[in-house]
């Protein structure tokens, strides 16, 4: 049977989930160092418990460990985001567009920093990592409805911030 103690299975789980764990903690606290440590902590713990945790449970296991690591411990810093490098055939290189996009991005980043931690995390996991509401609900240990609520409120406050209301 598949076993997390199997090096290949473990590596595969790591490749599938480590980036999201990293982003998850980063969106929460805006601290890159802590996010890297959280990945290490979560996956080292997964290894230590590999006999007990099935591959199906591994995902929620690493999120839970990462999440509990900094519970009420660190103060959130500003989350800094970058532009994803333009891929392939998109050629929207005209300076006006780029400038406008940059300005908008700055506004968005500023507005994101003002969001409550749980709304920001939910919003970014969905937008950047493409996580479904149900997946985020599982990570956060709340209902899908609660995630929809966070998403709705996040969009609403971001819009109000950016439009200067």
């Amino acid at each position: 049977m598949d076993n997390v103690c199997d090096d290949q299975i473990y590596s595969q789980l790591f490749r599938t989930h480590s980036k999201t764990v990293f982003n998850y903690i980063y969106y929460k606290f805006g601290n890159e160092e802590k996010a890297r440590d959280a990945v290490q902590e979560a996956f080292v713990k997964l290894w230590e418990n590999c006999a007990r945790v099935t591959p199906e449970k591994a995902k929620s296991f690493v999120y839970t460990v990462a999440n509990n690591l900094y519970l009420n411990v660190i103060k959130a810093e500003k989350v800094r985001l970058k532009h994803r490098p333009e891929t392939g055939n998109t050629t929207r290189q005209d300076p006006e567009f780029l400038l406008e996009e940059r300005e908008f991005k700055d506004k968005l980043e500023h507005a994101l920093a003002g969001l409550p931690e749980n709304q920001r995390t939910t919003f970014l996991l969905n937008r950047i990592d493409g996580k479904k509401y149900s997946e985020i609900a599982e990570m956060e240990g709340v209902s899908v409805k609660a995630i929809e609520k966070r998403m709705h409120l996040a969009l609403k406050s971001l819009r109000e911030q950016i439009d200067g209301i």
Partner: protein, 303 residues
């Protein structure tokens, strides 16, 4: 607009009708821009393969980078000392034993960290490390207890005579003096005793007394008799029966002219002392007198 319609819009869950209304709202343009631009963002670089290497080395996460700032040198020392002290404190707290006793004529109920239940018979004690339970699932037992293990959990019960490893859900362990008895009521347990190891299925029991061992069977669905306010014995020396009587009724028992090595099979009441004394004395043809919390058992034919 329906509840959380913004979230539903992003997820493509709005009906055509709703979408039309939303698109005509003045806020729509900004919402669309937010949705678009946000997908073109990314967090800091994360090298998956490098992180995997690091995780495989099993290195603990660093406690922050060490920066050689002179002004902060002292602070680092203090911080290091605090970390060391916290570490010591942590291990100290982790090594603390939680101990629960049931006094004479008493019973105690204990809930272990994994929600398993332990019911202690009179004059018994269990101890375990509460804080480090996850790493050290070990319960030490002196005396007798019934274990009702939470589903899917495992631990080991350690006694002076042997170890019982939980593979199942309900079992009784007794270890007093040279008597060691394990009864499995549900599921399976493994017993390790003086180099031998055997597994007991539900309804099976294992008993060692005076150096010899035997297995026995109990009725399916039964519970240890002491939990039904009775004490039952199979071929155990009278001396042990009398000790149990002392524990259950908080009395002192003395004997005169009685062979306490004789084996006794039977049951006595844990709530009614007179009844209990009759149950013991009648089959062995003994007489008894009772004075407060002192009981004297004597052979009938001795004057």
């Amino acid at each position: 607009m329906k509840e959380n319609y913004l979230a539903k819009w992003l997820n493509g869950d709005l009906s055509d009708e709703e979408l039309k209304v939303f698109r005509e709202s003045p806020e729509y343009k900004t919402y669309r821009k937010i949705a678009e631009v946000s997908t073109r963002l990314q967090g800091p670089e994360f090298d998956v393969e490098q992180a995997l290497e690091q995780a495989k080395e099993g290195r603990r996460p660093s406690v922050g980078k060490v920066v050689a700032l002179k002004a902060y040198r002292q602070l680092w020392k203090v911080a290091a000392a605090v970390v060391v002290l916290l570490g010591i404190g942590y291990f100290y707290v982790n090594s603390l034993e939680t101990s629960i006793q049931a006094g004479l004529a008493q019973r105690s109920e204990v809930v272990l960290p994994d929600a398993s239940e332990v019911i202690l018979n009179a004059g018994s004690e269990v101890s375990y490390r509460d804080k480090s339970w996850e790493n050290r699932r070990l319960v030490s037992l002196k005396g007798e207890a019934f274990f009702k293990v939470a589903k899917g959990q495992t631990f080991t019960v350690e006694t002076d005579a042997g170890k019982v490893t939980v593979l199942g859900t309900q079992f009784n362990v007794l270890q007093r003096g040279d008597i060691f008895s394990v009864t499995c009521f549900e599921g399976r347990v493994r017993v390790d005793h003086q180099g031998t190891s055997l597994e007991l299925a539900a309804g099976q029991g294992y008993q060692v007394a005076g150096g010899s061992f035997k297995t026995f069977e109990v009725a399916a669905g039964a519970r240890p008799s002491w939990m039904e306010d009775e004490s039952s014995f199979r071929s155990l020396p009278l001396s042990f029966i009398l000790e149990e009587l002392e524990r259950q009724h908080s009395i002192r028992v003395e004997t005169r002219g009685v062979d306490t090595g004789v084996l006794f099979t039977g049951t006595f009441s844990n709530t009614n002392l007179d009844l209990a004394l009759k149950s013991i004395s009648a089959p062995l043809q003994l007489g008894y007198t009772r004075e407060g919390d002192k009981v004297l058992l004597y052979a009938q034919d001795t004057p």
